[in-house]
Symmetry: C2
Subunit: 215 residues, 2 copies
């Protein structure tokens, strides 16, 4: 798995097409023809279509994981000094910042969110297991910090609420263009990703602080 040109051209194209149509609906011939690469190149460089899908994910998750670990290191160190617990807002803020930092390409955030959504909803399979086994520790670390920031929540409740929130983020960011068009047409204001996350923040915090069901 060497020579960058062909490999990255495959990755770039695959990432876009996967996001547009999904994994099963995107054939290797779609990818290779659009990338102007021989069909066999995928199997030569990646081994299989499955591995290609994982490679597309790895290209995002690797830098994200590294940066997020560093950001959490810093956050923990800062609060370790004065012995205070890290508040939820700061955790969410740190994650949002890291998510926004990572993408090198312009719409790669949108693409990655869509891929993440697909990974979850195309339930059965290798992808979720791969992500969990490869990058599970970052997320475990994050959720553990969230646990300490919200000690009043039962573990299961926190789990579900975090996934409710994940759904909001994935849905709005992956469908960003469509939603933004509707919003612009109906309300005449075009929001940026930063503004959107600004709108998301108070909603997410309120969601986590909602009363327990049955009250």
């Amino acid at each position: 798995m060497a020579q960058p040109d062909t490999v990255t051209r495959i990755l770039d194209t695959a990432e876009v097409l996967f996001a547009e149509r999904g994994f099963a609906e995107t054939s290797l011939r779609n990818i290779t023809s659009k990338a102007k690469v021989n069909l066999a190149a995928v199997n030569y460089h990646f081994g299989s279509k499955k591995s290609l899908i994982q490679a597309v994910f790895a290209r995002y998750l690797e830098p994200f994981s590294e940066r997020f670990h560093r950001a959490l290191d810093e956050l923990e160190a800062r609060h370790a000094r004065d012995g205070s617990e890290i508040p939820l807002e700061e955790l969410l803020e740190t994650m949002a910042r890291t998510v926004l930092e990572v993408p090198a390409e312009r719409d790669s955030l949108k693409v990655f969110m869509r891929l993440l959504g697909l990974a979850y909803s195309q339930a059965q399979g290798h992808l979720r297991g791969y992500i969990q086994s490869e990058y599970g520790d970052v997320f475990s670390r994050f959720t553990e910090l969230v646990r300490r920031a919200t000690p009043e929540l039962p573990d299961a409740e926190r789990f579900w609420r975090l996934h409710f929130i994940l759904g909001s983020v994935i849905f709005t960011l992956s469908g960003l263009d469509a939603l933004r068009d509707i919003a612009e047409h109906d309300y005449g204001e075009r929001v940026s990703v930063h503004e959107l996350i600004g709108r998301l923040r108070p909603v997410v915090v309120s969601a986590m602080q909602a009363p327990m069901p049955g009250a």
Copy 2:
């Protein structure tokens, strides 16, 4: 499209398999063999696989649309008598109740949510058009009632929050199996769809009542 036995057996099986694996990953042979029906029966009764998917979808959305209209009629009539505005909680409660009432089979809700997610993610753009043209009036009616229930929110803010919430619902319900597996593995409790919506309710209400961004 007559004789109920074969047709409904196909619909029932397709619905379950679509929910488990997704649409592209479910072949007609998977469906027909499990339904103990001849392979050609699908094309005979429905015309094509795409039409089958729409038929599965329509079987849910048609009764939902009708019931939801009736429920909103009743809700509006009740509040028209004493001149009070319909509170947000009641609107959400009505929708949740209708959503849960409809499915005859266990998995049709999941299928519906998955389709809805696909329709929005623009991957299958024609689906959103189909939904909008066929059943758009119900949703317009609902959002108008939500508008009256939350007069303090600017229109754009309400728009975005409703879609944040829609994302939560679609994500958790369409990826239900995956999430449920994780939750069961980690916390040892297997939640029902009813319980999940029960957990969703207070979170959604809090999300709608969150303070405006910038405070």
